[in-house]
Protein backbone atom coordinates (compact mmCIF):
# COMPACT_ATOMS: atom_id res chain seq x y z
CA UNK A 1 0.00 0.00 0.00
CA UNK A 2 2.66 2.39 1.10
CA UNK A 3 4.96 1.16 -1.60
CA UNK A 4 2.40 1.84 -4.23
CA UNK A 5 1.98 5.31 -2.78
CA UNK A 6 5.69 5.81 -2.88
CA UNK A 7 5.64 4.73 -6.48
CA UNK A 8 2.90 7.18 -7.23
CA UNK A 9 4.86 9.87 -5.44
CA UNK A 10 8.00 9.03 -7.30
CA UNK A 11 6.23 8.64 -10.62
CA UNK A 12 5.73 12.28 -11.55
CA UNK A 13 9.25 13.13 -10.47
CA UNK A 14 10.93 10.90 -12.99
CA UNK A 15 8.19 10.72 -15.57
CA UNK A 16 9.56 13.81 -17.26
CA UNK A 17 13.04 12.38 -17.42
CA UNK A 18 11.99 9.38 -19.45
CA UNK A 19 10.78 11.57 -22.26
CA UNK A 20 14.00 13.47 -22.51
CA UNK A 21 16.22 12.24 -25.27
CA UNK A 22 18.98 14.15 -26.93
CA UNK A 23 19.46 13.39 -30.54
CA UNK A 24 22.93 13.36 -31.91
CA UNK A 25 22.79 16.32 -34.26
CA UNK A 26 21.70 18.98 -31.74
CA UNK A 27 24.86 20.57 -30.45
CA UNK A 28 24.96 20.74 -26.69
CA UNK A 29 26.07 24.06 -25.35
CA UNK A 30 28.33 24.60 -22.38
CA UNK A 31 31.48 22.90 -21.25
CA UNK A 32 30.92 19.45 -19.94
CA UNK A 33 34.44 18.15 -19.63
CA UNK A 34 35.29 16.82 -16.23
CA UNK A 35 38.70 18.03 -15.01
CA UNK A 36 40.18 14.70 -14.02
CA UNK A 37 43.64 14.76 -15.46
CA UNK A 38 44.42 18.43 -15.30
CA UNK A 39 45.08 19.76 -11.83
CA UNK A 40 43.66 23.07 -10.84
CA UNK A 41 46.22 25.65 -9.72
CA UNK A 42 44.96 25.46 -6.16
CA UNK A 43 46.03 21.88 -5.82
CA UNK A 44 49.60 22.74 -6.65
CA UNK A 45 49.80 24.63 -3.38
CA UNK A 46 48.99 21.65 -1.27
CA UNK A 47 50.04 22.68 2.18
CA UNK A 48 49.60 19.34 3.84
CA UNK A 49 53.15 18.10 3.54
CA UNK A 50 55.16 21.29 3.61
CA UNK A 51 57.37 22.21 6.57
CA UNK A 52 55.84 24.42 9.25
CA UNK A 53 58.53 26.97 8.60
CA UNK A 54 57.28 27.46 5.04
CA UNK A 55 53.74 27.97 6.23
CA UNK A 56 54.72 30.59 8.76
CA UNK A 57 57.06 32.30 6.34
CA UNK A 58 54.36 32.49 3.70
CA UNK A 59 51.93 34.11 6.13
CA UNK A 60 54.60 36.48 7.38
CA UNK A 61 55.39 37.42 3.80
CA UNK A 62 51.74 38.15 3.13
CA UNK A 63 51.60 40.41 6.19
CA UNK A 64 54.84 42.11 5.18
CA UNK A 65 53.55 42.72 1.68
CA UNK A 66 50.54 44.46 3.10
CA UNK A 67 52.76 46.64 5.25
CA UNK A 68 54.57 47.71 2.10
CA UNK A 69 51.23 48.43 0.45
CA UNK A 70 50.31 50.75 3.27
CA UNK A 71 53.61 52.55 3.05
CA UNK A 72 53.15 53.05 -0.71
CA UNK A 73 49.41 53.48 -0.98
CA UNK A 74 48.90 52.71 -4.62
CA UNK A 75 45.50 51.88 -5.99
CA UNK A 76 45.95 48.23 -5.41
CA UNK A 77 43.42 45.69 -4.39
CA UNK A 78 45.86 43.32 -2.73
CA UNK A 79 44.99 44.68 0.67
CA UNK A 80 41.34 44.17 -0.02
CA UNK A 81 41.43 40.84 -1.78
CA UNK A 82 42.90 38.57 0.85
CA UNK A 83 42.39 40.20 4.16
CA UNK A 84 43.85 39.04 7.41
CA UNK A 85 43.74 40.46 10.90
CA UNK A 86 47.24 39.48 11.99
CA UNK A 87 48.80 42.75 10.97
CA UNK A 88 46.13 44.88 12.66
CA UNK A 89 46.46 42.79 15.81
CA UNK A 90 50.23 43.18 15.93
CA UNK A 91 50.04 46.92 15.21
CA UNK A 92 47.27 47.50 17.70
CA UNK A 93 48.98 45.58 20.49
CA UNK A 94 52.34 47.25 19.90
CA UNK A 95 50.75 50.71 19.83
CA UNK A 96 48.82 50.02 23.01
CA UNK A 97 51.92 48.64 24.72
CA UNK A 98 53.96 51.69 23.78
CA UNK A 99 51.22 54.00 24.97
CA UNK A 100 50.94 52.14 28.23
CA UNK A 101 54.06 53.88 29.50
CA UNK A 102 55.14 51.40 32.15
CA UNK A 103 53.17 53.02 34.90
CA UNK A 104 50.97 50.12 35.68
CA UNK A 105 51.96 49.92 39.31
CA UNK A 106 51.76 53.63 40.02
CA UNK A 107 48.40 55.01 40.84
CA UNK A 108 46.08 56.08 38.11
CA UNK A 109 47.69 58.88 36.16
CA UNK A 110 45.09 59.50 33.52
CA UNK A 111 47.38 58.16 30.80
CA UNK A 112 45.95 55.90 28.17
CA UNK A 113 45.63 52.36 29.41
CA UNK A 114 46.22 49.31 27.29
CA UNK A 115 42.59 48.32 27.26
CA UNK A 116 41.48 51.80 26.38
CA UNK A 117 43.70 52.04 23.32
CA UNK A 118 42.74 48.55 22.28
CA UNK A 119 39.05 49.26 22.59
CA UNK A 120 39.29 52.62 20.83
CA UNK A 121 41.00 51.05 17.85
CA UNK A 122 38.66 48.10 17.43
CA UNK A 123 35.49 49.90 18.36
CA UNK A 124 36.36 52.79 16.08
CA UNK A 125 37.15 50.48 13.19
CA UNK A 126 33.88 48.63 13.64
CA UNK A 127 31.92 51.89 13.73
CA UNK A 128 33.60 53.15 10.57
CA UNK A 129 32.88 49.87 8.84
CA UNK A 130 29.24 49.85 9.83
CA UNK A 131 28.96 53.45 8.72
CA UNK A 132 30.38 52.67 5.31
CA UNK A 133 28.04 49.69 5.01
CA UNK A 134 25.10 51.89 5.89
CA UNK A 135 26.11 54.49 3.36
CA UNK A 136 25.96 51.82 0.69
CA UNK A 137 29.57 50.73 0.42
CA UNK A 138 30.31 47.50 -1.40
CA UNK A 139 33.00 46.23 0.88
CA UNK A 140 32.83 43.34 3.27
CA UNK A 141 33.09 43.82 7.00
CA UNK A 142 36.46 42.19 7.53
CA UNK A 143 38.04 43.74 4.45
CA UNK A 144 37.33 47.14 5.87
CA UNK A 145 38.60 46.15 9.32
CA UNK A 146 41.77 44.83 7.70
CA UNK A 147 42.43 48.04 5.78
CA UNK A 148 41.75 50.27 8.76
CA UNK A 149 43.93 48.12 10.96
CA UNK A 150 46.85 48.06 8.56
CA UNK A 151 46.62 51.81 8.05
CA UNK A 152 47.42 52.36 11.73
CA UNK A 153 51.00 51.48 10.85
CA UNK A 154 52.19 55.05 10.15
CA UNK A 155 50.86 56.05 13.54
CA UNK A 156 52.67 53.17 15.21
CA UNK A 157 55.85 54.38 13.55
CA UNK A 158 55.09 57.89 14.80
CA UNK A 159 54.69 56.49 18.31
CA UNK A 160 58.08 54.80 18.04
CA UNK A 161 59.69 58.05 16.90
CA UNK A 162 57.98 59.93 19.71
CA UNK A 163 59.32 57.58 22.31
CA UNK A 164 62.83 57.89 20.89
CA UNK A 165 62.55 61.67 20.86
CA UNK A 166 61.24 61.63 24.41
CA UNK A 167 64.26 59.55 25.42
CA UNK A 168 66.49 62.33 24.15
CA UNK A 169 64.67 64.86 26.24
CA UNK A 170 61.48 66.78 26.47
CA UNK A 171 61.27 70.43 25.69
CA UNK A 172 59.84 72.77 23.12
CA UNK A 173 62.04 71.43 20.32
CA UNK A 174 61.13 67.85 21.10
CA UNK A 175 57.48 68.79 21.13
CA UNK A 176 57.78 70.48 17.74
CA UNK A 177 59.51 67.42 16.30
CA UNK A 178 56.82 65.17 17.69
CA UNK A 179 54.10 67.44 16.38
CA UNK A 180 55.52 67.38 12.87
CA UNK A 181 56.01 63.62 12.89
CA UNK A 182 52.56 62.88 14.25
CA UNK A 183 50.80 65.27 11.88
CA UNK A 184 52.67 63.82 8.90
CA UNK A 185 51.87 60.25 9.91
CA UNK A 186 48.26 61.16 10.63
CA UNK A 187 47.93 62.52 7.11
CA UNK A 188 49.59 59.42 5.75
CA UNK A 189 47.23 57.07 7.59
CA UNK A 190 44.17 58.96 6.48
CA UNK A 191 45.29 59.20 2.87
CA UNK A 192 46.27 55.54 2.69
CA UNK A 193 43.01 54.26 4.13
CA UNK A 194 41.01 56.60 1.92
CA UNK A 195 42.88 55.43 -1.15
CA UNK A 196 41.95 51.85 -0.37
CA UNK A 197 38.42 52.38 0.83
CA UNK A 198 37.17 55.20 -1.35
CA UNK A 199 36.72 53.03 -4.44
CA UNK A 200 34.16 50.87 -2.73
CA UNK A 201 31.90 53.81 -1.99
CA UNK A 202 29.40 55.60 -4.15
CA UNK A 203 31.33 58.52 -5.64
CA UNK A 204 29.13 61.28 -4.32
CA UNK A 205 29.42 60.15 -0.72
CA UNK A 206 33.16 59.88 -0.24
CA UNK A 207 33.18 62.85 2.10
CA UNK A 208 30.73 61.20 4.43
CA UNK A 209 32.87 58.07 4.66
CA UNK A 210 36.12 59.94 5.06
CA UNK A 211 34.94 62.04 8.00
CA UNK A 212 34.71 59.21 10.59
CA UNK A 213 38.04 57.84 9.35
CA UNK A 214 39.54 61.26 9.87
CA UNK A 215 38.06 61.46 13.36
CA UNK A 216 39.31 57.97 14.23
CA UNK A 217 42.91 58.60 13.24
CA UNK A 218 42.75 62.06 14.74
CA UNK A 219 41.87 60.71 18.17
CA UNK A 220 44.65 58.11 17.98
CA UNK A 221 47.25 60.61 16.82
CA UNK A 222 46.19 63.06 19.49
CA UNK A 223 46.72 60.35 22.10
CA UNK A 224 50.16 59.73 20.68
CA UNK A 225 51.05 63.40 20.69
CA UNK A 226 50.02 63.99 24.28
CA UNK A 227 51.74 60.87 25.53
CA UNK A 228 54.38 61.40 28.18
CA UNK A 229 56.14 58.51 29.88
CA UNK A 230 55.92 58.59 33.63
Amino acid sequence: MAASEGGVDGGPLFAGLADVSISGDIPVEGEITVPVGSRSPDEDYSTLDEPVKDTIMRDLKAVGKKFVHVMYPKKSSALLRDWDLWGPLVLCVSLALMLQGGSADSKDDGGPQFAEVFVIIWFGAVVITLNSKLLGGTISFFQSLCVLGYCIMPLTVAMLVCRLVLLAGSGTISFIIRLIVVVAMFGWSTLASTAFLADSQPPNRKGLVVYPIFLFYFVISWMILTFTPQ
Binding site: A3, G6, N131, K133, T138, L225, T226
Partner: protein
Amino acid sequence: MSAAAGGSRSGTAGDWGGFEDNMQGGGSAVIDMENMDDTSGSSFEDMGEMHQRMKEEEEEEGETGAAEDEDGEFLGMKGLRGQLGRQVADQMWQVGKRQATRAFSLYANIDILRPYFDVEPIQVRARLMESMIPVKMINFPQKIAGELYGPLMLVFTLVAILLHGMKTSDTIIREGTLMGTAIGTCFGYWLGVSSFIYFLAYLCNAQITMVQMLSLLGYGLFGHCITLFVTYNIHFHSLFYIFWLGVGGLSTLRMVAVLVSRTVGHTQRLILCGTLAALHMLFLLYLHFAYHKVVEGILDTLEGPNMPPFQRVARDIPLVSNAVLNTTAKAIALTL
Protein backbone atom coordinates in the same frame (compact mmCIF):
# COMPACT_ATOMS: atom_id res chain seq x y z
CA MET B 1 8.19 -3.50 6.64
CA SER B 2 10.23 -2.37 3.73
CA ALA B 3 7.11 -0.97 2.19
CA ALA B 4 6.55 1.09 5.28
CA ALA B 5 10.13 2.23 5.22
CA GLY B 6 9.75 3.22 1.62
CA GLY B 7 6.66 5.17 2.44
CA SER B 8 8.33 6.97 5.27
CA ARG B 9 11.29 7.70 3.07
CA SER B 10 9.02 9.29 0.59
CA GLY B 11 7.61 11.26 3.49
CA THR B 12 11.04 12.52 4.45
CA ALA B 13 11.74 13.25 0.84
CA GLY B 14 8.69 15.44 0.87
CA ASP B 15 10.03 17.10 4.00
CA TRP B 16 13.35 17.72 2.46
CA GLY B 17 11.75 19.03 -0.65
CA GLY B 18 9.80 21.46 1.45
CA PHE B 19 12.93 22.37 3.29
CA GLU B 20 14.82 23.09 0.13
CA ASP B 21 11.98 25.12 -1.24
CA ASN B 22 11.87 27.17 1.88
CA MET B 23 15.56 27.69 1.86
CA GLN B 24 15.38 28.86 -1.67
CA GLY B 25 12.59 31.21 -0.82
CA GLY B 26 14.61 32.64 2.06
CA GLY B 27 17.71 32.88 -0.08
CA SER B 28 15.94 34.69 -2.85
CA ALA B 29 14.46 37.12 -0.38
CA VAL B 30 17.88 37.90 1.00
CA ILE B 31 19.26 38.36 -2.45
CA ASP B 32 16.41 40.69 -3.20
CA MET B 33 17.40 42.79 -0.25
CA GLU B 34 20.99 42.77 -1.43
CA ASN B 35 19.91 44.02 -4.80
CA MET B 36 17.87 46.69 -3.20
CA ASP B 37 20.84 48.10 -1.32
CA ASP B 38 22.54 49.08 -4.48
CA THR B 39 19.73 51.33 -5.52
CA SER B 40 20.17 52.91 -2.08
CA GLY B 41 16.94 54.76 -2.55
CA SER B 42 15.01 51.85 -1.18
CA SER B 43 11.90 53.06 0.47
CA PHE B 44 10.34 51.84 3.61
CA GLU B 45 7.27 50.50 1.98
CA ASP B 46 9.38 47.98 0.12
CA MET B 47 10.99 46.94 3.32
CA GLY B 48 7.68 46.49 5.05
CA GLU B 49 6.33 44.53 2.14
CA MET B 50 9.33 42.30 2.20
CA HIS B 51 8.85 41.62 5.88
CA GLN B 52 5.20 40.92 5.37
CA ARG B 53 5.97 38.51 2.60
CA MET B 54 8.57 36.72 4.64
CA LYS B 55 6.14 36.39 7.51
CA GLU B 56 3.42 35.06 5.26
CA GLU B 57 5.77 32.59 3.76
CA GLU B 58 6.75 31.39 7.16
CA GLU B 59 3.18 30.99 8.25
CA GLU B 60 2.27 29.14 5.13
CA GLU B 61 5.11 26.83 5.50
CA GLY B 62 4.21 26.25 9.12
CA GLU B 63 0.80 25.11 8.05
CA THR B 64 2.07 22.78 5.39
CA GLY B 65 4.59 21.46 7.88
CA ALA B 66 1.77 20.60 10.27
CA ALA B 67 -0.16 18.88 7.51
CA GLU B 68 2.86 16.83 6.56
CA ASP B 69 3.35 15.96 10.17
CA GLU B 70 0.03 14.18 10.33
CA ASP B 71 0.69 12.48 7.07
CA GLY B 72 4.07 11.28 8.22
CA GLU B 73 2.66 9.94 11.46
CA PHE B 74 0.06 7.99 9.61
CA LEU B 75 2.53 6.52 7.19
CA GLY B 76 5.56 5.95 9.37
CA MET B 77 3.73 4.79 12.48
CA LYS B 78 5.33 1.36 12.43
CA GLY B 79 8.73 2.24 11.11
CA LEU B 80 11.13 3.09 13.90
CA ARG B 81 13.82 3.93 11.41
CA GLY B 82 11.50 6.25 9.58
CA GLN B 83 10.65 8.05 12.77
CA LEU B 84 14.26 8.44 13.66
CA GLY B 85 14.97 9.82 10.23
CA ARG B 86 12.09 12.18 10.53
CA GLN B 87 13.29 13.38 13.90
CA VAL B 88 16.78 14.01 12.69
CA ALA B 89 15.48 15.79 9.64
CA ASP B 90 13.14 17.80 11.82
CA GLN B 91 15.93 18.75 14.16
CA MET B 92 18.22 19.75 11.35
CA TRP B 93 15.46 21.73 9.76
CA GLN B 94 14.81 23.53 13.03
CA VAL B 95 18.48 24.38 13.51
CA GLY B 96 18.82 25.49 9.93
CA LYS B 97 15.74 27.63 10.16
CA ARG B 98 16.93 29.26 13.35
CA GLN B 99 20.30 30.06 11.86
CA ALA B 100 18.77 31.34 8.66
CA THR B 101 16.37 33.61 10.52
CA ARG B 102 19.18 34.90 12.71
CA ALA B 103 21.38 35.69 9.72
CA PHE B 104 18.46 37.23 7.95
CA SER B 105 17.48 39.42 10.88
CA LEU B 106 21.06 40.66 11.15
CA TYR B 107 21.01 41.63 7.51
CA ALA B 108 17.53 43.05 7.78
CA ASN B 109 18.55 45.22 10.71
CA ILE B 110 21.30 46.83 8.68
CA ASP B 111 18.93 47.20 5.77
CA ILE B 112 16.22 48.74 7.87
CA LEU B 113 18.69 51.37 9.08
CA ARG B 114 19.95 52.11 5.60
CA PRO B 115 17.32 54.62 4.47
CA TYR B 116 18.28 56.84 7.40
CA PHE B 117 21.80 57.06 6.08
CA ASP B 118 20.76 58.05 2.61
CA VAL B 119 22.31 61.50 2.41
CA GLU B 120 24.65 63.57 0.29
CA PRO B 121 27.51 65.61 1.74
CA ILE B 122 25.84 68.80 0.60
CA GLN B 123 22.67 67.91 2.46
CA VAL B 124 24.60 67.25 5.64
CA ARG B 125 26.40 70.56 5.33
CA ALA B 126 23.15 72.41 4.73
CA ARG B 127 21.53 70.74 7.72
CA LEU B 128 24.47 71.59 9.94
CA MET B 129 24.10 75.21 8.94
CA GLU B 130 20.36 75.10 9.40
CA SER B 131 20.74 73.68 12.86
CA MET B 132 22.11 77.06 13.94
CA ILE B 133 19.42 79.15 12.28
CA PRO B 134 16.15 79.35 14.16
CA VAL B 135 13.25 79.88 11.81
CA LYS B 136 10.41 81.90 13.22
CA MET B 137 7.58 80.20 11.45
CA ILE B 138 5.17 78.61 13.85
CA ASN B 139 1.97 78.49 11.85
CA PHE B 140 3.07 75.74 9.57
CA PRO B 141 4.81 72.54 10.71
CA GLN B 142 8.47 72.79 9.81
CA LYS B 143 10.13 69.95 8.00
CA ILE B 144 12.49 67.67 9.90
CA ALA B 145 14.66 65.32 7.95
CA GLY B 146 14.57 61.85 9.40
CA GLU B 147 18.24 61.15 8.97
CA LEU B 148 20.74 59.63 11.35
CA TYR B 149 24.14 60.04 9.69
CA GLY B 150 24.68 63.62 10.80
CA PRO B 151 23.50 63.09 14.38
CA LEU B 152 25.58 59.96 14.78
CA MET B 153 28.72 61.66 13.51
CA LEU B 154 28.07 64.66 15.73
CA VAL B 155 27.70 62.41 18.75
CA PHE B 156 30.99 60.70 17.93
CA THR B 157 32.64 64.08 17.47
CA LEU B 158 31.29 65.10 20.85
CA VAL B 159 32.74 61.91 22.33
CA ALA B 160 36.16 62.77 20.90
CA ILE B 161 35.94 66.34 22.18
CA LEU B 162 34.89 65.11 25.62
CA LEU B 163 37.79 62.66 25.68
CA HIS B 164 40.09 65.55 24.89
CA GLY B 165 38.53 67.63 27.66
CA MET B 166 38.81 64.80 30.15
CA LYS B 167 42.43 64.15 29.32
CA THR B 168 43.50 67.75 29.60
CA SER B 169 41.62 68.18 32.81
CA ASP B 170 43.20 65.07 34.34
CA THR B 171 39.82 63.72 35.14
CA ILE B 172 40.13 60.47 37.01
CA ILE B 173 37.22 58.16 36.97
CA ARG B 174 37.09 55.34 39.44
CA GLU B 175 35.42 52.16 38.32
CA GLY B 176 35.46 53.02 34.66
CA THR B 177 37.38 54.36 31.73
CA LEU B 178 37.34 57.82 30.24
CA MET B 179 36.29 56.34 26.95
CA GLY B 180 33.33 54.53 28.44
CA THR B 181 32.25 57.58 30.38
CA ALA B 182 32.43 59.85 27.34
CA ILE B 183 30.51 57.43 25.16
CA GLY B 184 27.99 56.77 27.89
CA THR B 185 27.43 60.46 28.53
CA CYS B 186 26.96 61.44 24.91
CA PHE B 187 24.88 58.49 23.78
CA GLY B 188 22.96 58.51 27.03
CA TYR B 189 22.06 62.14 26.56
CA TRP B 190 21.17 61.73 22.91
CA LEU B 191 19.06 58.62 23.27
CA GLY B 192 17.70 59.37 26.72
CA VAL B 193 16.61 62.93 26.10
CA SER B 194 15.23 62.04 22.68
CA SER B 195 13.06 59.31 24.13
CA PHE B 196 12.00 61.53 27.01
CA ILE B 197 11.03 64.40 24.73
CA TYR B 198 9.34 61.97 22.38
CA PHE B 199 7.31 60.72 25.31
CA LEU B 200 6.44 64.29 26.28
CA ALA B 201 5.58 65.07 22.67
CA TYR B 202 3.27 62.09 22.67
CA LEU B 203 1.58 63.42 25.79
CA CYS B 204 1.41 66.94 24.37
CA ASN B 205 0.16 65.72 21.04
CA ALA B 206 3.05 67.05 19.01
CA GLN B 207 3.53 65.69 15.52
CA ILE B 208 6.96 64.17 15.61
CA THR B 209 8.36 60.70 15.19
CA MET B 210 11.17 59.12 17.13
CA VAL B 211 13.57 59.27 14.20
CA GLN B 212 12.78 62.93 13.64
CA MET B 213 13.35 63.58 17.32
CA LEU B 214 16.71 61.82 17.21
CA SER B 215 17.67 63.79 14.14
CA LEU B 216 16.56 67.10 15.63
CA LEU B 217 18.38 66.61 18.90
CA GLY B 218 21.42 65.18 17.16
CA TYR B 219 21.80 68.19 14.92
CA GLY B 220 21.20 70.33 17.99
CA LEU B 221 24.45 68.90 19.37
CA PHE B 222 26.37 70.76 16.68
CA GLY B 223 26.30 73.88 18.83
CA HIS B 224 27.61 71.88 21.78
CA CYS B 225 30.45 70.52 19.68
CA ILE B 226 31.55 73.99 18.57
CA THR B 227 31.26 75.48 22.03
CA LEU B 228 33.09 72.70 23.80
CA PHE B 229 35.80 72.43 21.18
CA VAL B 230 36.57 76.12 21.50
CA THR B 231 36.25 76.42 25.25
CA TYR B 232 38.22 73.30 26.13
CA ASN B 233 41.13 74.89 24.34
CA ILE B 234 40.68 78.58 25.14
CA HIS B 235 39.91 79.02 28.77
CA PHE B 236 38.00 82.16 29.54
CA HIS B 237 34.87 81.99 31.53
CA SER B 238 33.41 85.00 29.76
CA LEU B 239 34.12 83.41 26.39
CA PHE B 240 32.34 80.28 27.47
CA TYR B 241 29.30 82.18 28.58
CA ILE B 242 29.18 84.08 25.29
CA PHE B 243 29.40 80.81 23.39
CA TRP B 244 26.97 79.16 25.72
CA LEU B 245 24.34 81.81 25.14
CA GLY B 246 25.21 82.48 21.52
CA VAL B 247 25.97 79.18 19.86
CA GLY B 248 24.24 76.89 22.31
CA GLY B 249 21.29 79.25 22.51
CA LEU B 250 20.92 79.40 18.74
CA SER B 251 20.85 75.65 18.32
CA THR B 252 18.40 75.35 21.21
CA LEU B 253 16.21 78.05 19.70
CA ARG B 254 16.18 76.22 16.42
CA MET B 255 14.93 73.04 18.07
CA VAL B 256 12.39 74.97 20.09
CA ALA B 257 11.11 76.73 16.97
CA VAL B 258 10.66 73.43 15.16
CA LEU B 259 8.89 71.85 18.09
CA VAL B 260 6.63 74.86 18.58
CA SER B 261 5.59 74.75 14.96
CA ARG B 262 4.57 71.13 15.39
CA THR B 263 2.62 71.48 18.61
CA VAL B 264 -0.81 72.88 19.16
CA GLY B 265 -1.77 74.69 22.35
CA HIS B 266 0.13 77.12 24.53
CA THR B 267 0.54 74.95 27.60
CA GLN B 268 1.75 72.02 25.57
CA ARG B 269 4.24 74.18 23.72
CA LEU B 270 5.53 75.63 26.96
CA ILE B 271 5.97 72.26 28.64
CA LEU B 272 7.66 70.62 25.68
CA CYS B 273 9.95 73.44 24.68
CA GLY B 274 10.77 74.49 28.22
CA THR B 275 11.90 70.99 29.10
CA LEU B 276 13.95 70.60 25.95
CA ALA B 277 15.59 74.02 26.28
CA ALA B 278 16.43 73.53 29.94
CA LEU B 279 17.88 70.05 29.39
CA HIS B 280 19.88 71.10 26.35
CA MET B 281 21.40 74.20 27.87
CA LEU B 282 22.14 72.58 31.22
CA PHE B 283 23.81 69.64 29.51
CA LEU B 284 26.24 72.01 27.81
CA LEU B 285 26.94 73.69 31.12
CA TYR B 286 27.55 70.34 32.76
CA LEU B 287 29.86 69.13 30.02
CA HIS B 288 31.90 72.29 30.24
CA PHE B 289 32.32 72.47 33.99
CA ALA B 290 32.60 68.79 34.69
CA TYR B 291 35.65 68.37 32.45
CA HIS B 292 37.06 71.83 32.45
CA LYS B 293 40.61 72.73 33.24
CA VAL B 294 42.75 75.81 33.62
CA VAL B 295 45.17 77.00 30.98
CA GLU B 296 48.36 75.51 32.38
CA GLY B 297 47.05 72.03 32.10
CA ILE B 298 47.43 71.46 28.40
CA LEU B 299 50.87 73.03 28.26
CA ASP B 300 51.97 70.80 31.06
CA THR B 301 50.70 67.69 29.38
CA LEU B 302 52.60 68.63 26.29
CA GLU B 303 55.82 69.69 27.95
CA GLY B 304 56.49 66.54 29.85
CA PRO B 305 57.09 65.43 33.39
CA ASN B 306 60.10 67.62 34.16
CA MET B 307 58.01 70.66 34.74
CA PRO B 308 56.85 71.23 38.26
CA PRO B 309 53.38 69.98 38.84
CA PHE B 310 51.06 72.67 37.65
CA GLN B 311 49.27 74.75 40.13
CA ARG B 312 45.62 74.58 39.79
CA VAL B 313 44.56 78.18 39.78
CA ALA B 314 42.01 78.42 42.49
CA ARG B 315 38.98 78.56 40.39
CA ASP B 316 36.32 80.80 41.71
CA ILE B 317 34.06 78.02 42.77
CA PRO B 318 31.44 80.26 44.39
CA LEU B 319 31.26 82.28 41.24
CA VAL B 320 30.78 79.19 39.13
CA SER B 321 28.18 77.75 41.39
CA ASN B 322 26.53 81.14 41.45
CA ALA B 323 26.47 81.10 37.69
CA VAL B 324 25.05 77.61 37.68
CA LEU B 325 22.41 78.70 40.13
CA ASN B 326 21.65 81.75 38.05
CA THR B 327 21.29 79.77 34.89
CA THR B 328 19.23 77.14 36.61
CA ALA B 329 16.98 79.85 37.93
CA LYS B 330 16.79 81.35 34.47
CA ALA B 331 15.97 78.04 32.93
CA ILE B 332 13.34 77.37 35.51
CA ALA B 333 11.94 80.83 34.94
CA LEU B 334 11.93 80.03 31.25
CA THR B 335 10.17 76.78 31.88
CA LEU B 336 7.50 78.28 34.05
